[in-house]
């Protein structure tokens, strides 16, 4: 096991993988040095996930060799990868929702580890890296950001020599992302190599020492991101200039979607409820709600979509009509569509082909005859959705879970937007998407806004909110801050509100149910 200087910790040579007609990885070479933070950049479907799965032993390459500290690793499995010291934080989290944080970690712990030992190790690690996790939280009740923390901590417990992170900052506040970077730099300084998959070019430039750019399964460039401009990186990825988002001045009209004095408890133990939330989205306006998951986002979205109908009818209005008691389908008939945060298992049904998933929320009259489904029109709709929104593979018979996260999201967004909505709710619409897809979806929302649709975007990505929103409010600890016009506020101010800290040094940090910044 020679780990001399200049010896790459991980070396890939000629890694090749094809899925029937699709070449996912085309003779990929990659060197990851000890202590290096190495970015892998690429569009959706560029082959990043496949490559990571091969490194982690989930998928077997058709050809090529992986060397670990110079030694070839012919038969790799996840267990073997973990033994070598490779840890991976997946884009789709691999946690059991029904178990607690501690139990989830226990499942991956070496034999003989007791609950109490693990609990104290967990405390140490989470304190050491500044990642707060409560071992007794049930994972199913955690937001995406919190689940990711659990995944990262779980990997760190195994003291990895190579940590693979897939889109790790997409659910973090700017401050929390900075904290993550500090932690990753600390890890790297201690000798751990990091493979960092991200589409946020500025992050890659800020954090990473080397960037390998993949396009259509091939390595197109290996660069030092600190010396490249964002545009140059994007050009490598996309092969052409990325179109910027057009965003004209707002010409908002009448109030389309409003929430009035909505208070509720969370239905999950330990969840954050809502405390007197008021908001109004007008026609031709994008209203952004910033905040970290677990601060009442799920509760607000449920109340808006009609999945939860416990409030008085006047609490939620669509076009002035009280809808607080109306169910999901009644609200959809009134012109509301909803792109949920969880793409697989909520926005779409895994194990069902797209041509069946397009039926999930669409209620076009020509889809049905006497209670039976007319698959012809449904298929036509599916094809239109796939073509107009560039879903790949362009195959309506592909199962939802066979698509990459970005393509599935394009399909779901397409399905919702093709219903000529009057009001749109979108939760984390571009989470985990590459630059091209994210911009396309943002542009779609902006275009709809130009057509006079009222749009509510709930997101943890401040860049996104500032890029498209007219109004921004922050949901922290169940309280919604006053909406500010995007031009009159700043990332710093919103970021401070997100972390629940008062803006100007008045009072103490928020705790419990108090809403100090509401006045």
């Amino acid at each position: 096991m020679g780990e001399g200087p200049g010896q790459p910790r991980l070396k890939l040579r000629g890694i090749h993988k094809t899925y029937s007609a699709l070449v996912a990885n085309d003779r990929i070479d990659l060197d990851v040095m000890p202590s290096s933070i190495h970015a892998v950049l690429g569009e959706n479907g560029a082959g990043k996930s496949t490559l990571m799965k091969i490194i982690y032993g989930v998928t077997e390459a058709d050809a090529g060799t992986m060397f670990w500290n110079g030694a070839p690793q012919p038969h790799l499995s996840p267990a073997r990868a973990r033994q070598l010291g490779i840890g991976m934080v997946f884009q789709h989290f691999s946690l059991f929702p029904a178990l607690t944080v501690l139990e989830n970690i226990l499942l991956f712990a070496p034999k003989g580890a007791t609950r109490e030992e693990l609990r104290s190790t967990l405390k140490t690690v989470s304190a050491e890296y500044g990642i707060p996790v409560n071992p007794d939280d049930v994972v199913g009740r955690l937001g995406m950001g919190e689940r990711q923390r659990v995944e990262i901590v779980r990997c760190l417990l195994q003291k990895p020599k190579l940590l693979i992170l897939d889109e790790p900052t997409s659910v973090l506040t700017p401050q929390a992302a900075e904290d993550l970077f500090v932690m990753l730099r600390r890890l790297a300084a201690n000798g751990c190599s990091i493979l960092y998959i991200s589409h946020k070019l500025h992050e890659v430039r800020e954090l990473c020492h080397t960037a390998t750019v993949l396009k259509a399964g091939r390595v197109v460039a290996t660069v030092d991101p600190r010396e490249e401009s964002e545009d140059a990186l994007a050009r490598h990825m996309l092969g052409s200039m990325v179109p910027a988002i057009r965003h004209d001045a707002a010409h908002a009209g009448a109030e389309r979607m409003s929430v009035l004095a909505l208070s509720r408890d969370s239905e999950v133990a330990g969840g954050v409820g809502l405390d007197d939330v008021n908001l109004a989205v007008r026609c031709g306006e994008i209203f952004g709600i910033a905040g970290i998951a677990g601060n009442g986002q799920a509760e607000l979205l449920e109340a808006l979509s009609g999945e939860w109908v416990g409030a008085p009818a006047e609490c939620v209005c669509l076009d002035g009509a009280p809808m607080g008691r109306a169910g999901v389908r009644a609200r959809r008939r009134a012109g509301l569509v909803y792109v949920p945060e969880e793409r697989l298992g909520r926005g779409s049904v895994p194990g069902m082909p797209l041509r069946r998933n397009s039926l999930l929320t669409t209620g076009f009259a020509n889809f049905f005859r006497g209670g039976l489904i007319r698959q012809g029109p449904v298929d036509a709709f599916t094809r239109r959705c796939i073509e107009e929104f560039d879903v790949r593979p362009a195959d309506g018979t592909a199962n939802a879970d066979a698509l990459s996260g970005g393509n599935l999201q394009k399909f779901i967004v397409g399905r919702e937007l093709l219903q000529s909505p009057k009001a749109v709710i979108a939760a984390q619409p571009t989470w985990g998407l590459d630059v091209g897809a994210a911009r396309a979806i943002r542009q779609l929302l902006v275009d709809l806004r130009e057509d006079g649709v009222a749009i509510l975007v709930v997101s943890e990505d401040l860049d996104e909110l500032f890029a498209i929103c007219d109004q921004i409010a922050v949901l922290a600890n169940g309280c919604l801050s006053e909406a500010k016009s995007a031009s009159s506020t700043s990332v710093e101010e919103i970021g401070r509100l997100m972390s629940g800290r008062p803006v100007a040094g008045v009072g103490s940090p928020l705790q419990g149910g108090a809403c100090a910044d509401q006045a």
Binding site: V58, P110, G112, R329, R346, G347, L360
Partner: protein, 366 residues
Amino acid sequence: MPIRLEPRAAASRWVRYLAPVASALAAMIAGTLLFFFIGHDPAEAFYVFFVQPVSDLYGLGELFLKTAPILLCATGLAIGFRSNVWNIGAEGQLILGAICGGSLALAFDSVQGWWLLPAMFLAGGIGGMAWATVAAVLRVRFNANEILVTLMLTYIAGLFLSYLVYGPLRSPTGFNWPESTAFHGAARLPRLLDGTRMNAGILLALGVAVAAWVFVRFSYLSYQMEVGGKAVNAARYAGFGRNRMIWLGLLISGFCAGLAGVVEVAGTIGKLREVVSPGYGFAAIIVAYIGRLNPLAIILSSVLMALFFIGGEQAKVSLGVPSAITGIFQGTLLFFLLMSDLLVSYRLTWVGFASNSAEGGGAVDG
């Protein structure tokens, strides 16, 4: 464990459909081997069990006679199973169907009319549905597990039937046997073929299976139920009420099982007695899965299960083994089906004894 399960990237479609066939063959072979180990000639045992019962017209008639109630129960269950509603008490719902349909026949003992038989089926279906309603209410209202409730209700149904045939419904002219008076002609299912006991029940069952196929294949309602079964959150998101799906799953399967009960008492048996089903309702659970929850495929798996029942009886007569052998065959079949399903989705990897421990999570990563 030196062996580990690893998920396969993609299970091919035809393997998925082949698995039930393979498990049926494996169960036949394993069962025949069992005869060998208890001292019978395996070739003879196989012949007695699987060939002899269907080697003449009468035998074929018996085969379809027994297929009918199994097919009815399994079809109903499959619709529920598709939406993750675990009704395993079809046996109890079948008994209630027999009681309700049979009571109607006894109540109109002196009236002959074409309408009596349809009325009996309606009453039986409603009876089975009523029994399932108990489970549905408890599930929807108190979140009581329908697996336990439906199972326990089966025993109550059996005891209720015993009470009736020992008490109020016992035939006054039946020498104190725990049986009701025999139904008259208008309350009996017509015989389809001379020289056999096969009755119109099989036509009803086939009709229900085809209707169920149309329902699951084309109806929007079934689509909603399937979404609820595959992803609860997606159903919530789409506004498909979960409670409605639970009600439907239980009521439909209860209704079908109730029909099966009437088929038994109005067809084969011709009266109410202490035992009206040798476990068709339970066998139907396995049948539904062998048929991949597809009503058309379930027709075939019901015939297979009927063969097991007849083979068991034949083996009792010809080989002198207890008819519990049928249960053993059912168990073996289920075992092979579960095993082959596992192997369709996962592959076994030998990792050796020396390997370390943290491998339990291997299957989770995929």
